[in-house]
């Protein structure tokens, strides 16, 4: 005679209780991590959104031969203190760009000094005299927060109003281009060889283990390697996107190899057998049948590798890619900096305005990375399991 339902239920209560408890614990873990993310993002947005805006003042700017050498005189003495120093530094350049400026007086929106900028953003204080002037300008509509184009086009600058991520973004672009140009073909071909051609012996297994280990090596070691080999031995120019890209390529290579191999391995053997069965050569099997099926996986892995490379800081700092670059240079051999290094630089500056830019830069970087990962996920979903 079996146990009655009541007896079984009594015993089950404990087991069901355990399920409920574990479900609760895992749910709270999820909520906790979601909370962390929300707090982090919220903090960044709250601190960083204002980096995309810049306090500006509408002033009369006098362009004459005199102000070309003495830029301070271009602006009325009453307002001189309100304008950012960087504006005056940029004066000679303006004349060169536009010779017709000479001898004119123009009504321009001029970036405010960081104190005024912060005051307009509701932070920090001004002397009572300055505050009066600014308040009056605001009332007249001559001082306001406007979209900060300089933040996206500018480079390194000691004046916060002139500083931006433009130069660093270009540096990142060039560095990543070098990285992908090197690590993508080498990584994919290595993976194809290991997965489709190499015999399964002790030697290839050793290579496999070492590739997996390489993916786990702290990135700073790759920086040291880049410093010693690329700069020290091969004499690649320091701080250049070339040396940065080479260094990061070393780091991305194992990632691409691993993800490509995983993606090749997920191709059902039936497809390979079918191809061999109709008389394909080994390469035809790979190029006509295996690669097309695994391409989305390979690209997904590469994009994720690229996203990681974009966020990489330590090895690039070691090879000197933390240079002070006021003007971006489209060259693989000239000094450059990258986004995370630029953020790192700003983070170490005490000025409130630079702290704001740090958060702003992080927001831009995060957006790029989230976008890249989203593309990777989309591609995976779009092309997955079409066979």
């Amino acid at each position: 005679m079996a146990d009655s339902f009541d007896e079984i239920t009594k015993q089950l209560r404990k087991r069901h209780g355990k399920t409920r408890r574990l479900k609760l614990i895992s749910m709270s873990a999820l909520i906790l991590s979601g909370l962390f993310l929300a707090v982090f993002l919220g903090d960044m947005v709250q601190r960083g959104w204002s980096a995309f805006l810049q306090g500006q003042i509408q002033l009369e700017v006098t362009y004459t031969e005199e102000t070309r050498t003495m830029p301070l005189n271009a602006i009325d003495e009453d307002y001189r203190q309100l304008v950012t120093q960087g504006f005056f530094w940029s004066f000679p350049g303006k004349f060169e760009q536009d010779p017709e400026l000479t001898g004119t007086v123009r009504d321009e929106w001029v970036p405010a000094s960081s104190d005024v900028d912060q005051y307009l953003k509701g932070r920090g204080r001004l002397s009572s005299q300055e505050q009066q002037v600014v308040d009056r300008l605001v009332e007249q509509g001559q001082a306001e927060l406007r979209f900060n184009k300089t933040f996206f086009t500018g480079g390194g600058s000691r004046s916060p109003a002139m500083a931006g991520i433009g130069a660093a973004a270009l540096g990142t672009l060039l560095t990543i281009a070098v990285t992908m140009a090197i690590s993508l073909p080498i990584g994919v071909m290595t993976a194809i060889y290991l997965e489709e051609f190499a015999p399964d012996n002790r030697f290839t297994r050793m290579i496999e283990v070492n590739i997996n280990n390489l993916a786990a090596v702290p990135s700073i070691l790759f920086g040291l390697l880049g410093l010693a080999i690329f700069i020290g031995f091969f004499g690649v120019p320091r701080s250049s996107p070339l040396v940065g890209g080479l260094t990061i390529a070393l780091m991305t290579l194992p990632l691409i190899i691993i993800s490509t191999r995983a993606s090749l391995r997920s191709v059902p053997d039936g497809i390979r057998h079918a191809a061999f069965g109709v008389g394909c050569t080994r390469w035809q099997v790979v190029s006509d049948h295996v690669l097309p099926v695994s391409l989305p996986g390979i690209l997904t892995g590469s994009i994720i590798g690229m996203a990681q490379a974009i966020g990489e800081t330590a090895p690039l700092i070691l090879v000197g890619m933390i240079a002070f670059i006021p003007n971006a240079d489209f060259s693989l051999l000239n000094s450059a900096t990258v986004l995370p290094a630029q953020i790192y630089t700003w983070a170490s500056l005490p000025d409130q305005a630079f702290q704001e830019k740090t958060a702003g830069g992080i927001l831009v970087l995060l957006t790029i990375l989230i976008l890249l990962n989203a593309i990777a996920v989309l591609m995976r979903n779009r092309f997955e399991r079409r066979w």
Binding site: I271, H273, A274, A275, G277, V278, G279, H289, V293
Partner: protein, 323 residues
């Protein structure tokens, strides 16, 4: 090697089955060495008319032997074939002759080596690093098991259909057109279309897919996919088509269609089929080889093998005592 019962099959009709059976038993060497129960040496003149007619077989519709079958023509001759997976010997000194334009079924319990043997015929075992194959597989005057044989050329002439339908993840058209184009059999779009239609017609799939040739091959049902795989194989016009349990993943109706197809395709191709299903072997095969533990225990025309097996092992298997 002597083949005491080499004429057994031809005289079977006259001699009566019991006698053939006893003779076959006597012919088995005591040491258990594999002996093909049937041997048609090229030197022995055989008359095509001497074939026994199979009628009223239990478990399947009668398939009468095709009188056009040329018994002189051997498609593949296997002599003394051994195969090892590492230290394990999976095939032991096999001898078998496969006749052109026939369906030859390989039956036997699981793990007896019939699929392994089938894969020897187009060298698919080359893909398994631990497999070591010795022996001679002669086809068209060449030893295709020789190291210097180009497996691509071999597979161009010996096609294969696998256990699970495995169409390429491409369109139906591409599935069929890919291989002929790759082998430079056709190039112009027109020729390709013609060839695809012919192959699909031969595989009995044309009417079902003619309006959706640009859809992925994987969108078809399992049975249709398997016929697509057959179309893919016959598009190359091979001499031999190997089928490795082609219907084991299919429903009974698809199975029946594919069995009919095998019988029809015999006209143009030599078919070697591995099957777990003895009724299937009885229905479609002209010849049947019974495998057991890596040896060919018995090889004879299907009617004889099923009705009057020469060995107790084959008899026990056929009557369902194990397997």
């Amino acid at each position: 090697m002597t083949h005491p019962d080499s004429a057994a099959r031809d005289t079977a009709a006259a001699d009566g089955q019991t006698e053939q059976r006893s003779r076959s038993r006597e012919s088995r060497p005591a040491n258990g060495e594999v002996q093909p129960a049937v041997d048609h040496g090229a030197s022995e003149p055989q008359s095509a008319g001497g074939r026994p007619e199979r009628q009223g077989q239990s478990g399947g519709k009668p398939v009468s032997f095709n009188n056009e079958v040329d018994h002189e023509r051997l498609s593949m001759t296997v002599t003394d074939l051994d195969l090892w997976y590492g230290d394990y010997q999976a095939l032991k000194s096999l001898d078998i002759e496969i006749y052109s334009n026939t369906v030859t079924a390989l039956i036997g319990p699981s793990g007896c080596g019939k699929s392994t043997f089938l894969r020897c015929l187009n060298r698919m075992n080359d893909l398994i690093p631990s497999a070591r194959i010795e022996g001679r597989i002669e086809m068209d005057g060449r030893n295709v098991n020789a190291r210097e044989m180009d497996v691509v050329a071999l597979r161009r002439r010996v096609g294969m259909v696998f256990q699970n339908p495995n169409p390429f993840p491409k369109t139906i058209f591409e599935n069929v057109a890919y291989a002929p184009r790759m082998h430079d059999i056709v190039s112009s779009r027109r020729d390709q279309e013609e060839l695809v239609e012919q192959a699909l017609r031969d595989a009995g799939l044309w009417d079902e897919v003619k309006d959706k040739l640009d859809q992925p091959g994987t969108s078809l049902s399992g049975g249709q996919q398997q016929r697509l795989c057959i179309a893919r194989a016959i598009a190359l016009r091979p001499d031999v088509i190997l089928m490795d349990e082609p219907t084991s993943a299919l429903d009974p109706i698809s199975t029946a269609i594919i069995e009919d197809l095998m019988v029809r395709l015999r006209k143009d191709f030599t078919i070697v089929v591995v099957t777990h299903n003895m009724q299937q072997a009885a229905r479609v095969a002209d010849y049947t080889a019974f495998f057991h533990l890596g040896e060919i225990i018995e090889y004879n025309d299907t009617a004889t093998l099923f009705e009057t097996p020469a060995t107790t092992k084959a008899e026990d298997y056929i009557t369902g005592r194990y397997g």
